[in-house]
């Protein structure tokens, strides 16, 4: 109200100044009158301000340590911070100013939740086929997550590796679409099986299984720009979700590569989850993927127009007794993947799988084993086999130390016996626990 009156007065004054000279006397009288009005408004304003300040002070005084909140219907007084010293003298506000939300200063309120996750890897032993450095900061992942507007949220995961920076994921999720569609748009890890959807720092191992390395696009997996639509299918107590995804068609080093705009790749996934008891549950999935592979590209011309089809099934058994959930748990998991890759030398039908079990035997300790077996996608006659044993220690929710013994029998080289170790650490916002 007050500012409006001020504005009206100012506007009126301006019009009067511009009024014709013959009305000068009248104008002078009016100007005086307006001046009086302005003075009055200023007095009222100051009085009101003083009253409000007094009220604020009394609220803060009365609330002290055992602030009983809220008269009925009145929201609790916002928390306040003191204005930094000096600001008042510079014409800024003085005394406590309100802070909305949790941040320390007002400007940060709308910043996304930020976190940085470090993944430090070390390796000892001999591996002549697929060597990794003795020590490396394998990945530094920066996560930015926030609600965009009433209809969507956004998640960005920027990955800084030894070979540069990449957007591991950056997508918008529409949370409120009619019809129960959960739609994601952006660059994301495709819903092909389980391991492909997981970021490095939530894997129970220091590495990815042989089958994902050989058949599903290496470490990055199917991770591309596209659109994902997922819908729940009513099935009583069973959680049944169907996902359909369309991607540009560039994934992994040699999985999918586009040479034309129409070379899109597709992923379909069906997931069924059921609670057997409150502590035990099973999770099954089947996946399909299709896209153009780079086998037929010669001198940047796609002569072969070859495609790859992937089929996968996955099964997970989880056990976690609720009343001791922070001390004991078990996850058993397996994924089997078939690859049908067209090449100049004919179609390569490759198959691979892993099976793993991870047991938490104390609040901070996990032990696990994994068996690996996979053909190579581009030469199905080459079969690699491997096995791993892991031991993980969690100093807190925000860091973990892991050791992994890994033996790999390569089809085309000497067997590798390696001791891998990993430090992972997370700073910033508390992320969601993986499930």
């Amino acid at each position: 109200m007050r500012p409006i009156r001020f504005a009206c007065a100012a506007l009126l004054a301006a019009t009067l100044v511009a009024a014709p000279r013959d009305a000068a006397a009248q104008t002078a009288a009016q100007a005086q009158q307006i001046q009086q009005q302005i003075d009055q408004v200023r007095r009222e304003f100051n009085d009101r301000l003083a009253a409000l300040e007094a009220q604020l002070a009394s609220i803060q005084g009365g609330q002290a340590p055992t602030a009983p909140p809220a008269a009925p219907g009145v929201p609790p007084a916002p928390t306040t911070v003191e204005v930094p010293p000096g600001a008042a003298g510079a014409g800024g506000p003085s005394g406590p100013i309100p802070v909305y939300g949790s941040s320390v200063t007002n400007a940060k309120v709308f910043n996304p939740d930020m976190a940085v996750i470090g993944d430090f890897l070390g390796a000892a032993g001999r591996n002549e086929v697929d060597p990794q450095p003795a020590l490396e900061l394998h990945e530094s992942e920066a996560a930015f997550q926030a609600i965009v507007d009433p209809y969507a949220r956004a998640d960005f995961f920027i990955s800084f590796g030894e070979n540069g920076v990449g957007v591991e994921e950056g997508f918008l999720t529409f949370t409120s679409l009619p019809g129960g569609f959960l739609t994601k748009v952006g660059k994301m890890r495709a819903a092909f099986g389980k391991v492909n959807t997981l970021h490095n720092h939530v894997l129970p191992w220091t590495d990815r299984p042989l089958v994902t390395r050989s058949l599903v696009g290496g470490e990055d997996g199917i991770d591309d720009a596209g659109i994902s639509v997922a819908r729940l299918i009513p099935a009583g107590p069973v959680f049944l979700e169907a996902t359909g995804e369309v991607y540009r068609g560039d994934s992994g080093e040699s999985l999918y590569k586009t040479s034309e705009r129409s070379d899109l790749s597709y992923v379909g996934h069906l997931r069924a989850y059921h609670d057997i008891t409150e502590s035990t549950n099973v999770d099954f999935g089947s996946s399909y993927s299709y896209g153009h592979n780079p086998a037929g590209i010669v001198n940047d011309v796609d002569l072969g127009r070859f495609t790859t089809k992937l089929f996968g099934v996955d099964a997970t058994l989880r056990w976690k007794p609720l009343s001791r959930s922070i001390y004991h748990s078990f996850v058993g998991r397996s994924e089997v993947i078939w690859s049908r890759r067209q090449q100049f030398n004919g179609r390569q039908d490759a198959m691979g799988y892993y099976a793993s079990g991870d047991y938490q035997f104390a609040r901070r300790w996990f032990a696990g084993v994994r068996y690996d077996r996979s053909d190579r996608a581009d030469d199905a006659s080459l079969l690699d086999k491997g096995g791993s044993a892991t031991l993980t220690y969690w100093p807190s929710e925000f860091s973990q130390v892991r050791g992994q013994y890994r033996r790999t029998d390569y089809a085309d080289g000497p067997a590798a016996n390696e001791l891998l170790f990993q430090f992972q650490f997370s700073i910033g916002a508390h992320g969601a626990h993986p499930f």
């Binding site: 609790p76 409120s176 129960g180 299918i233 959680f239 379909g268 009343s323 508390h430 992320g431 499930f435």
Partner: protein, 307 residues
């Protein structure tokens, strides 16, 4: 290609799950909130809780079966203060339910009108453990906060079901007056034991201690979310001996090994004290939670002669 088309057809053809416009479908993150919702909503609502009372509410798993519950919910009531930060956000995102997203009319953060203790001031870092920057989220263990949560729910339910508004307010009035009576009884029961010193495992009981005049002098955990260390256990035992502390309260989801070692060393009684409805079988509603906890504490004080 063809299978993808089939999948899309399948996706589009499956019927939309419509939420009934009958009873208000309330989902709460914990059983305490569910218990209060039942008091307020009576038979005009359906209530389901995601976490169980005997489960550590910080570490609930984001199971897909919870997505099914949230998908059908008209209201989601959360404890707030980042208690559910590890598991509720991914469930909400996948719920496909615009009504209950943060900021929507069907999302109720029960902490907004409650009295919150231990709000950290100044610099906070994770060197202090898994601190809750917005204050201690275990605020429901004070009947005064119970009334405030009840009021917030009655207002919210009435806003979403205007036809039942009077009913919810009436239920609230009944709940509040019954709670007033019970609180008087609880306070008089506890009055002789005012100032009794105790140790708790996690910082789950500050509101309870404040309301009923108990003095929590330390914690079995060295820092929130960090399991006991030998040095800290030694320190807390020495402190308990020095101050003659005879009670150790442990939430049902923590290991009893360290508390029992402390009990043996100091002669203190170790009590498994549920901070939540459903924490033990007998505690089936909000009133029984205080009945149980207060009787447990008083019996132990009498037995140990601690004061």
């Amino acid at each position: 290609m063809r299978s993808l088309k089939l999948l899309l057809v399948f996706l589009l053809a499956s019927p939309v799950v419509a939420s009934a416009q009958g009873k208000l479908n309330v989902v709460t993150s914990t059983e305490d909130l569910a218990a209060i919702a039942r008091e307020i909503g009576g038979d005009h609502i359906t209530v389901e809780s995601i976490a169980r009372g005997y489960q550590d509410p910080h570490f609930v798993e984001a199971k897909p079966s919870f997505i099914l519950k949230l998908q059908r919910a008209d209201v989601l009531v959360a404890v707030g203060r980042e208690l559910e930060i590890g598991w509720l956000p991914p469930l909400l995102t996948q719920s496909r339910n615009g009504k209950i997203q943060v900021g929507s009319s069907g999302y109720l953060d029960a902490s907004l009108t409650a009295e919150i203790l231990e709000v950290p001031t100044g610099q906070i870092t994770r060197a202090e453990g898994d601190v809750h920057p917005l204050g201690n989220p275990h605020y429901w263990l004070d009947p005064e906060n119970g009334k405030r949560i009840g009021k917030a729910m009655a207002d919210k339910f009435g806003e979403l079901r205007p036809g039942d508004r009077a009913f919810f307010q009436q239920q609230l009035a009944s709940f509040t007056s019954r709670l007033d009576t019970a609180e008087k009884r609880w306070l008089s029961m506890m009055a002789p034991y005012k100032g009794t010193k105790m140790v708790t495992y996690h910082r789950s009981f500050p509101n309870f201690a404040q309301r009923f005049g108990l003095d929590i002098i330390g914690y079995v955990e060295p820092r929130p979310g960090i399991p006991p260390t030998p040095q800290h256990t030694l320190d807390i035992m020495n402190e308990m001996k020095r101050q003659n502390v005879k009670l150790v309260l442990v939430e049902p989801y923590f290991d009893l090994k360290t508390p029992q070692a402390i009990g043996r060393e100091t002669g203190a009684q170790v009590l498994v004290m549920p901070p939540s409805v459903g924490g033990v079988k007998e505690v089936t509603d909000y009133f029984k939670l205080f009945d149980y906890d207060i009787n447990l504490v008083i019996d132990a004080i009498k037995k140990s002669g601690a004061k």
